[in-house]
Symmetry: C2
Subunit: 352 residues, 2 copies
């Protein structure tokens, strides 16, 4: 890493106190309250004085202090939300973030975003610090499995909306994908292509969405009268590396599967790698849950059950806004549909 330096930009002036309404009032020769009126665009100020105030404010680089304003205002709204994600850099999380932001932007709301990295302790810490910063709302893609602790925040008037996974131990608005139906649709797609030995590779059984997807797989198999072979079901597979191993072991079975349902995007990616390494990518069918970048450019292109994380984020933000305007509305659970996108890997027929 190279570093180039130049003389300091900061001057003595940079140490002066930030200008306040008082300073603007003094410079404009009006009262504090008049400045407040101009800054907040209240009417009842003569054009004359308003212009003077504007000029003084510009001259001083004045920026209203929103935190002070909030402290005094009766509505007590900070126009700030906290967003708790699995990892801001993960494609699913960041798409949710984007959706939330789009709605927040229109409302003039600023969003604190943070990553929990599957650490329930971290979730609670973040809730506490955001609460201390007086956010109006929390949008949580939960890591913890127990959310009774949030009752305090709700009592304190913070709107809480869950995304991706439902809460436990508290009744709150929630936006989730139709995991069970989506997984069933993906599995059915494979059955309809003629497959009977269909493997399931999924995430930790402790994760509610992973469970739902497993149930969807079982539902579909039962509905079609296809047997679930215990040796073809691998759960507790969490990342791409583990998925490579898992799929490798499936392919090494005396009677390997002719198709694989991968219940999570990292697992799908691992499956792609393992199938390719084994030269089986055109022989063993693959359907993944959750879409991912470049899925359409792989060979074969990967068939997926796609979620719509951006829509989830938008909807969650909309619910927050409604909850803030009518805190007594009934709590609701919203299910965003998933979509099967056939691209090639899921349409491979079984060999005889």
């Amino acid at each position: 890493m190279t570093t180039l330096s130049s003389p300091p930009a900061a001057t003595a002036e940079s140490l002066r106190a930030r200008p306040t309404m008082r300073d603007v009032a003094a410079l404009a020769g009006v009262s504090l309250k008049t400045v407040s009126r101009v800054v907040n665009r209240e009417d009842g100020v003569s054009e004359d004085l308003a212009a003077k105030v504007e000029r003084a404010a510009a001259q001083l680089d004045y920026r209203p202090n929103l935190t002070a304003s909030n402290l005094r205002r009766s509505d007590r709204k900070t126009a700030t939300w906290g967003l708790l994600l699995e990892d801001v850099a993960n494609p699913f999380s960041s798409a949710v973030h984007r959706g939330v932001e789009e709605v927040a932007r229109e409302l003039g709301v600023a969003v604190f975003a943070a990553s929990m990295d599957e650490d329930p302790e971290r979730e609670r810490e973040l809730v506490a610090t955001f609460s201390s910063r007086r956010v109006d709302a929390l949008i949580i893609a939960p890591t913890a499995t127990e959310h009774a602790y949030l009752a305090n925040e709700v009592r304190n008037g913070i709107a809480v909306v869950f995304v991706d996974r439902p809460p436990f131990g508290i009744d709150a608005d929630c936006v989730v994908t139709d995991n069970r139906a989506g997984a069933a649709a993906g599995t059915s797609h494979l059955v309809e292509c003629g497959h009977r030995r269909i493997a399931f590779v999924g995430d930790f059984a402790s994760i509610s969405t992973a469970n739902e997807r497993y149930q969807g797989y079982v539902d579909s198999m039962a509905a079609h009268g296809v047997q679930v072979h215990a040796e073809l079901v691998l759960r507790d597979v969490h990342d791409a590396t583990q998925a490579v191993e898992a799929v490798r072991s499936l392919l090494a079975l005396p009677e390997p599967p002719t198709a694989i349902f991968a219940a999570q995007n990292l697992i799908t990616m691992g499956a792609v790698e393992a199938l390719r390494d084994a030269g089986a990518q055109h022989r063993v069918a693959l359907v993944g849950f959750d879409d991912f970048a470049m899925a359409n450019l792989l060979d074969p292109a990967v068939t997926v059950v796609a979620q719509d994380p951006r829509a989830i984020g938008r909807l969650a933000a909309t619910l927050v806004n409604e909850r803030l305007s009518s805190s007594s509305a009934p709590v609701s659970v919203h299910v965003v549909p998933s979509v099967l996108i056939p691209r090639g890997s899921g349409e491979i027929a079984p060999r005889n």
Copy 2:
């Protein structure tokens, strides 16, 4: 979308005012100042009173009001930063975000993140609202091409650090990738594989990094004594769709290129698609600038010049922290190296 409702969770109790230090003090039977001492872990409070205060605070679900605390405190630090990104959902931006967050977390700093979507107007609005919210620092991946307007904020004591692209019209700390050297390395790699007709497909010439990468390409060609053919240079290509078109047109030339340097990740993805559609992916070499997910699983796997956006974020956050502790330190420009990752597509030799 399905919606299920249940009876309201909010009760009359949810409308009560949030407890304050006064309330805790009253319940604990001590003065306001004693509560303040306990909350802030100042010493000089007897264990007896401290315990009483803790109990009262817990009983009331008390959360200290950080905004009120900040208003009164002499250091005037809010422990809040604003992060202005191209798009929070874009992989480069979100990796920078992650890097910033890792450092911020250790410092107990909360981060506002927002997307500018290449809109300079939006950049200025965000700076203004974050300034009003009294952030201590701004980390900006700039969209605007003129940043003199930020002088106000710097004078107001806000630390400003730029990432990805340098600022214009203001002297500020900055963290960038070695775009020129990286592009030269990628181009040289192709020359060394025997290519002479090497196309360049790049982003808007108005974007400084796009220009640098173009310069790197030119540098390398000149250094090797290889001619740059004007018809093989396509600039102002901004997204994947345009890149598909661009590469298609290159392949349709009477004398098509034997290799392509794609100067941006979306362009690389478009190039992959266009090459595959033309069945040319194993015949025309490809090197892309900026890594992307699944690049290693494509066929052929894609050779890239990888940036390290997470390291950029971490470094920017570190600079912010240094700037906040010594505002008069010299301004510095940091260049984070890129790395060539050969994976297959860049090692295809030209046909005779």
